[in-house]
Symmetry: C2
Subunit: 357 residues, 2 copies
């Protein structure tokens, strides 16, 4: 990411401060600090002032790294960061301070509130993060390609007798080899009836022939997440599985066709549910249709039946309807898509034909 | 872990409540919930009462899993857990409630404090977690063996020309194959001058001959962390590297020889520094000597020059002195050790002779 992009983000945040007549904003959630400064260390607090000043606090472990990663001024302090920030606010006579009330710990809040009046910033930075820049969309695309290629490499070699855990380990290994820092979330590999548990974790369970196999995976690359799910059949697909698969695929396609700038998130979910209802499967679709992603694997907006957020060009979201029949199995198909002015771009290139392994 | 062990832990926590005359304790840090209940989901709040009642709140995604993992009563709720917990406290007329002030978010605190008087629990559960049961030490030993074997498998194949990132990926892959959930922390592989940065992250940097190579790694297995560091030389060790290595190894051995029940943590660090001072290297030892580990990779106690905690049988800590010369390289040697009544047991079986690759 170019330093200019971080500067633009800080400029927008500072404009938000001015609009609220705050004297400062303290950002200490690592992912928000990274968004505003480029610094990737785990110990950081960034103080922004309405005039555009930005000061990054970190501890001595990160002194060299902070200097390399950020264009902000850096202050290396020993001891708790909230204490150092609190002293800094007092010295600068900054009184009305926005703080990350949904993220900060109670103890840090206590320390910061010694000399300042703290104002809840709610999701001020997270709201900005919803709209991705072209550079960010490119980073998510690269992350997606890593997951996509790892999937294609591994799926070819999957056979009955292998365990879920071994397949997951191989997927993660291939993502690393292709340039990921690691998986964006614990990779899900769930076979047969276990695929009906939306959050199954891969176990020492051997894959059997004539079963569904669900794989939900994503990479973290340069800090950006990607997310995809494919469901395949081990053997020649049973008629029941084929019918379910077609319903889910058409529901996913219907949802994707709905995505464009200005559409309500709930309308996307409605499109998926409508198609599933035609096969009596909407009750088996037990989660929501998708979620934003970026520096975190789950970000705003959510795409659920009650989500009134308007999708905007630059948002990146997953579209992932699924149906789950207890005792039989589950089918989920998920792509990561970037919202555009007149539709969306699907960033997940993998085939969605029902594969027979 | 047997259900009886969780029951014993809850019994101790309830005794702590009684001693403080609190009406309840709300635990919502996932790792503390796991410690007290066995539940491994990411969304949970556990309410303990002085009489021994334990009620676990989670969301519908974890309904099945919670039932399988914990012997506690489970309540599955939709919507924010703090809201449900707050209602529960009001219904049960529980007024003085201990809460995790160092961990809980400010927003959750606000929600919980609606009807209750919140009392800071500080590190009540973390303090209990410092002393490991025999079953926990066995789990840490198993985790250590996974990391240890992965290291031995990979180090044999390391050659100049390979990148740091490739070696790290291979270490992580072998840990997974040997049964780890994953690395306990991002594996460090740092070559040459980069080994002088205590927190270097592995890059696309090719290893060269006649350099130091530092590897700091650990597994997470069944939730328990392990931690080890070895430093090797690519080629025939230079005299300077050999001398530094001997100083660090003897410092580490001196520190380990000091560890036993009743000794102050600071005394362990002093033993390491004393040996390094003899070679004028104590100033190049820029971090502390070690830290506790268990369900988290960094737990109490810390072993630093100002840490007055008395080591106790059952604590598991790392002993990891290191020296770092900017522009040249760093050497760190780290074992995980379990404190016993009359000494300690080193859980890291790998050789500490200076290996020449």
């Amino acid at each position: 990411m170019l330093e200019k992009e971080y500067q633009d983000r800080r400029r927008l945040a500072c404009a938000d401060l001015q609009a609220r007549t705050w004297d400062g904003l303290v950002v200490s959630t690592p992912v928000n600090v990274r968004y505003l400064s480029g610094f990737t260390g785990s110990s950081a607090a960034l103080v922004l002032e309405p005039g555009g000043q930005a000061l990054l606090f970190t501890d001595p472990r990160y002194a060299i790294q902070a200097g390399e990663e950020t264009g902000c001024r850096v202050r290396v302090v020993k001891g708790p960061l909230p204490t150092a920030v609190s002293r800094h606010l007092a010295r600068r006579r900054l009184r009305r301070i926005g703080f990350e009330n949904t993220r900060i710990s109670f103890a840090a809040h206590q320390e910061l509130s010694r000399g300042a009046t703290l104002e809840p910033a709610e999701t001020l930075i997270e709201d900005r993060r919803m709209i991705k820049s072209p550079a960010e969309i490119e980073l998510i695309r690269q992350s997606m390609l890593v997951a996509s290629r790892a999937y294609d490499r591994v799926i070819r070699a999957v056979r009955p007798g292998m365990t879920e855990a071994a397949v997951a380990a191989e997927l993660d290994h291939q993502m690393r080899r292709l340039g990921a820092e690691g998986p964006a979330f614990p990779t899900i590999v769930a076979a047969g009836p276990r695929s009906a548990l939306p959050h199954a974790s891969p176990g020492p369970v051997a894959l059997k022939a004539n079963q569904l196999l669900l794989i939900d995976m994503g990479a973290s690359r340069n800090g950006y997440a990607s997310d995809m799910t494919r469901t395949v059949f081990l053997g020649r697909p049973a008629v029941k599985a084929g019918k379910m698969y077609r319903a889910v695929l058409e529901a996913q396609q219907a949802a994707i066709a709905t995505v464009r700038d200005g559409v309500q998130a709930a309308a996307v979910e409605r499109a998926a549910r409508r198609r599933l209802r035609a096969d009596g499967l909407d009750r088996a679709f037990v989660h929501s249709t998708g979620h934003g992603l970026g520096l975190e694997i789950h970000e705003a907006p959510r795409i659920g039946r009650r989500d009134k957020t308007l999708l905007r060009a630059g948002m990146v979201v997953t579209i992932e309807p699924g149906v789950y029949l207890e005792g039989y199995g589950g089918i989920r198909i998920e792509d990561t898509v970037a919202v555009t002015a007149d539709g969306c771009e699907v960033l997940t290139p993998n085939s969605k034909e029902l594969a027979a392994l």
